[in-house]
Amino acid sequence: MDWIDSILAAAQPILVSGIVLASLYALMATGLALVWNTLGIFNFSHGVFMTLGAYIAWQFADARGYGLGLSIGIAISVAALAGLGVLFNRLLIAPFLGRKDIVLVAVMTTLAGAFFLENSALLTWGPRIKQLERILPGNIKLMGTAISLHEFLIIVLAPLVLLALWAFLKWTRPGSAIRAVGQNRDSALLLGIRVNAIYALTFAISAALAGGAGVLLGAIRFITPTMGTEPLLKAFIVVILGGLGSFGGTIVSAYLVGFMEAISTFFFGAYWTQAVMFGLFIVILVVLPRGLKGRD
């Protein structure tokens, strides 16, 4: 039964690398989906939020920056991103709300925002690549595959963060308000919910999630001004497959997409995988425009 062994031997690293990717995608895509559900706009700046999260953490943590240590760097980065989210909502979304073509306008303004931040990052930090130190040094063996403890942390942390987000949305007053605004804006207004404040809060949470994902990714890949582009595009795939508007669907599909990418990398190689993923994305959009859940 050699072939079973060889498949098992092949399957384990696929599983492990798939789950690392999936965890990052889940963090990215949930933030994207949260903004879509609540504001009804698609945020093309979401990828740059991730990039900036990594850079800010590097700036404060790294010895070539302010050298304040990793934990302070991460804390400042996530807080700064939350603030940036509020600012973006204020400048790029709020002035245009209520326009009939808001979906298209928001694509353009957030694209412009991404363009702005990407070039700001280039101006501030230059094209030279940087890397964050790992939160946990050392390696661990998982299912026969050696991965860094940092990657293991990603695998554990992502579900915990998502669980905390879910609990926040489900059990807290502002969380309920976020869900309410997404489901019926007028009614939320009539019950005295400050819808604009909820929009700002949603953007802050979403940007902080992206920043956190950037911090995690910045230690296993290089930090460049364009590092957020690919994860953003993956988050698109995840959100569409999960069905726009579904929190659970988004998470399931993040893990699905992560595994598909890992499997495709194994069979077709890293070079073809990206093309396969986008081909798949177009097929999904055509066959299942409402994603796995089937509701808008």
Binding site: F42, M108, L111, A112, L123, F236, W272
Partner: protein
């Protein structure tokens, strides 16, 4: 339009036609060539994004495909540039029809995502197929266009200058006739009130496919001319930056208007060149411009009520509804 206003565009055209006779500055020539190319490119994008109101974000990918098709057929396969030209046009036409097929069934943000994803798919394929496309380095040393033994690059790119001008005249005449035609009016009717147009017997899918095809011709031609002019094709052509730049031209000039995209291309190319010393910082200015125009002049310069722009900007149908 009054008689003097009628003369504005022929006058601009005449100035452009005699400009090389009085100008011997290679930099200025280069800037004008780039502006002319951008003008054809975004005015054909305007057909889908503005006139038809379809959220097509794949237009720059069609342009890149045209550039690569021209580069590959001439540099990799050694064909004559004059054969590369129609190949480039055919490639971008095919690409736009292929992208349109899934788009026919989709609406709103989904159209944005499919067209974006298509560009990324092409980008990844270009990166992977290194043997044909040169991967991240792209294709360099493409042969120049030649006619009767003279390179278009001679006399400070004089040939490219007039080729780009000719292309712009052709594309503008094409867009103008198309908008005024019954087909153009049908497409505008579909944009402004789809339910009503469909109930009056307009075939939405067929007309969308046709407008995609109609707008897919020129990016191929512009792409080929661009590739022969700069003598390279690079994967950056598929990037977000070019999409954003093209979008800013449409928005600043006035989306959905005939002359707006031309004004936008000219203004932004010049603004961008004036700020060339700033490096990436000029992109910050462009990003701010996009948001400011969307916020304060949703109709662009052509619709902003600026007297000069109003002379030029004959709106095609009414501008898209911006009221609450």
């Amino acid at each position: 339009m009054t008689q003097p206003v009628r003369l504005v565009w022929p006058l601009v055209l005449a100035c452009l036609a005699i400009l090389p006779l009085v100008n011997a500055d290679s930099y200025l020539r280069h800037v004008v060539i780039v502006a002319l190319l951008y003008a054809s490119l975004v005015s054909s994008w305007n057909l889908t994004l503005g006139v038809a109101g379809l959220f097509n974000f794949g237009h720059m990918a069609f342009f890149a495909i045209g550039a690569y098709a021209a580069a590959i057929s001439t540099q990799t396969f050694g064909l004559s540039p004059w054969i590369g030209f129609p190949i480039a046009i055919a490639s971008s036409l095919v690409a736009s029809v292929v992208v349109c097929l899934p788009v026919l069934r989709l609406k709103g943000i989904y159209v944005v995502l499919v067209t974006f994803a298509f560009g990324q798919l092409c980008y990844q394929v270009v990166l992977n197929q290194r043997d044909i496309t040169g991967g991240t380095f792209g294709i360099v040393s493409i042969p120049p266009l030649q006619l009767f033994g003279h390179s278009f690059a001679e006399n400070l790119n004089l040939g490219y200058y007039y080729a780009a001008l000719l292309l712009l005249v052709l594309s503008t005449a094409y867009v103008k006739r198309l908008i005024a035609s019954e087909f153009g009016r049908t497409v505008i009717a579909l944009r402004d009130n789809e339910t009503y147009a469909v109930s009056r017997g307009v075939a939405a899918a067929r007309n969308r496919l046709l407008i995609f095809a109609a707008s897919g011709l020129f990016p191929g031609a512009v792409g080929a001319l661009y590739a022969f002019y700069v003598r390279s094709a690079s994967p950056d052509l598929f990037g977000f930056s070019l999409i954003t730049l093209g979008l800013s031209m449409l928005l600043v000039g006035g989306i959905g208007t005939l002359w707006g995209p031309l004004i936008g291309a000219a203004v932004l190319t010049v603004v961008s060149e004036l700020m060339a010393d700033l490096g990436p910082a000029r992109y910050l200015v462009i990003a701010v411009m996009i948001v400011a125009v969307l916020r304060f002049f949703p109709g662009g310069l052509a619709g902003a009520g600026l007297p000069l722009a109003r002379l030029f900007g004959r709106a095609t149908g009414k501008p898209r509804e911006q009221e609450h």
